[in-house]
């Protein structure tokens, strides 16, 4: 599935990053993407960043995503 939940990069260690998806943290490989820094928002596919997103767009998507989650029984951990 093509999930478009943006994650925020918290820390970088070589080509790995610790990424926060609205409170759920995951390790993500960032070597496929240019310009990923601490604080960047990224779109992730199967554990790999595939594109960076600008902060305003990312905040907007996160807001929508939170609303969607509130409407369902799904937990964040299930999705990310």
């Amino acid at each position: 599935m093509c999930l478009a939940i943006p994650g925020k990069v918290l820390a970088i260690n070589g080509t790995d990053a610790l990424v926060d998806f609205d409170g759920v943290q995951r390790n993500v490989v960032i070597a496929l993407c240019e310009g990923v820094d601490i604080g960047s928002y990224i779109i992730v596919h199967a554990g790999y960043a595939i594109e960076t997103v600008d902060e305003k767009e990312a905040e907007e998507s996160l807001k929508l995503w939170r609303e969607a989650i509130e409407d369902t029984e799904i937990s964040k951990e299930d999705i990310i």
């Binding site: 093509c2 490989v29 496929l32 993407c33 199967a46 554990g47 790999y48 595939i50 594109e51 929508l64």
Partner: protein
């Protein structure tokens, strides 16, 4: 959101949360209806993405669209189009005592010629579901006495991932069974099919994240099919439909990037470079569709050591793509709707899938079954 996109649409996007605003959905739907009324034939728009089908069904869009507008689900589910011979190969590998076979979740439930990977797992083979290739690498590092094969499927969104791992000198006991497919060649095949007529494409946004706009311009500029790169929120889909319809009406086919908040015109160059360093296009079999020229990826010779097909001698005879009675070959090319298949919901359900389209969350039959009440 870009001014360019607003110019294409012809009206402004509401600033706040437009992607899921029901008010904005209504506005786009009204605009879609207005255009459809001025067209005196049935317009057929195809998408080639399982997630797009999911969003359309989940939101019950089809009954809301004008009668002379059909949204057709094309071959956009990577799990569904993976030919049985590749799953048979994965099963053959998993049968070996020295092999741990890893793959994506949906893949293990797909019926192959005789059984699924899950059935083989129940017989005792070491088959593991992983989230992505990096996890398979970890299994290889943790199990140096075993051969770890990653059965790798997916479109251009996924192919750069295993490619990256191969460029990073993975452990010697790691290899890939490569069954990657590519979307633009499949769209080209659809365009050339004599018995299906479509007027435009909705293009999968995350394939375009990697490829950029360029490969899709072929369809608008040479074949004269409108082509809108579309995102995955409800109003992304409605806008994608609207923009496609508008161009059809104006007879002015273009490649428009509706998903410009994520898709850059040039795509992700770095990911593409890595993907084409490891893989090259090859004529490839799509389940239910047949051979597509350059429709798949194979591992280049310089990475042959990590190619499971070369590393292990696997011979498969008589693989069967479409089980008796299943109509996936017609569903995948948009020639049949799931409910028209005699087995739909009867002999074939998500719990007991007969064909590949009933397994994955991106499979047209599975989606139609899940959203039975609101679909079609």
């Amino acid at each position: 959101m870009s001014e360019k996109l607003e110019n294409e649409i012809g009206f402004a996007l509401p600033g706040e949360a437009w992607l899921r605003s029901p008010k904005f959905s209504k506005k786009i739907l009204a605009a879609i209806k207005r255009i459809a009324r001025s067209i005196n034939y049935t317009v057929k728009i195809m998408h080639v993405c399982g997630t797009h089908e999911h969003v359309i069904c989940e939101n019950g869009f089809r009954p809301l669209l004008p009668k002379n507008l059909e949204i057709i689900s094309g071959p956009g589910c990577p799990v569904c189009v993976c030919p049985a011979i590749d799953i048979d190969r994965a099963i053959a590998l998993a049968k070996r005592a020295d092999v741990i076979l890893s793959t994506f979740g949906d893949m293990i439930r797909v019926p192959s010629s005789r059984q699924s990977l899950m059935e083989q797992k129940a017989k005792g083979s070491d088959i593991r579901v992983v989230y992505g290739p990096s996890e398979a690498i970890k299994i290889a590092l943790d199990n140096p006495e075993k051969e770890v094969v990653f059965f790798s499927i997916g479109f251009e969104t996924t192919a750069p991932l295993p490619a990256l791992e191969l460029t990073n000198k993975p452990p010697d006991n790691f290899s890939i069974l490569c069954a990657h497919k590519t979307i633009p060649p499949a769209m080209e095949l659809i365009v050339g099919l004599p018995d299906i007529e479509i007027d435009g494409f909705i293009t999968p946004g995350h394939v375009a994240v990697i490829l950029g706009e360029e490969p899709f311009k072929l369809f608008s500029d040479a074949y004269r099919y409108t082509n809108v790169i579309t995102g995955f929120e409800p109003n992304d889909l409605l806008l994608g439909i609207f923009l496609t319809l508008k161009q059809i009406k104006e007879n002015d086919p273009k490649t428009i990037n509706e998903y410009s908040r994520i898709v850059k015109p040039e795509g992700n160059k770095k990911a593409r470079k890595i993907m084409y360093d490891v893989f090259e296009p090859e004529t490839s079999r799509w389940r239910g569709i047949g051979k597509i020229r350059d429709g798949g990826l194979k591992i280049k010779d310089k990475y042959a050591d990590y190619d499971a097909l070369k590393k292990f001698n696997i011979e498969i005879k008589d693989s069967i793509d479409i089980p008796l009675g299943c109509s996936c070959h017609l569903v995948l090319t948009g020639k049949m709707k799931p409910k028209e298949c005699p087995l739909f919901g009867k002999g074939c359900t998500p719990l007991h899938p007969v064909g590949p389209c009933m397994v994955s969350h991106e499979g047209t039959c599975k989606i139609a079954y899940t959203f039975k009440d609101v679909t079609l």
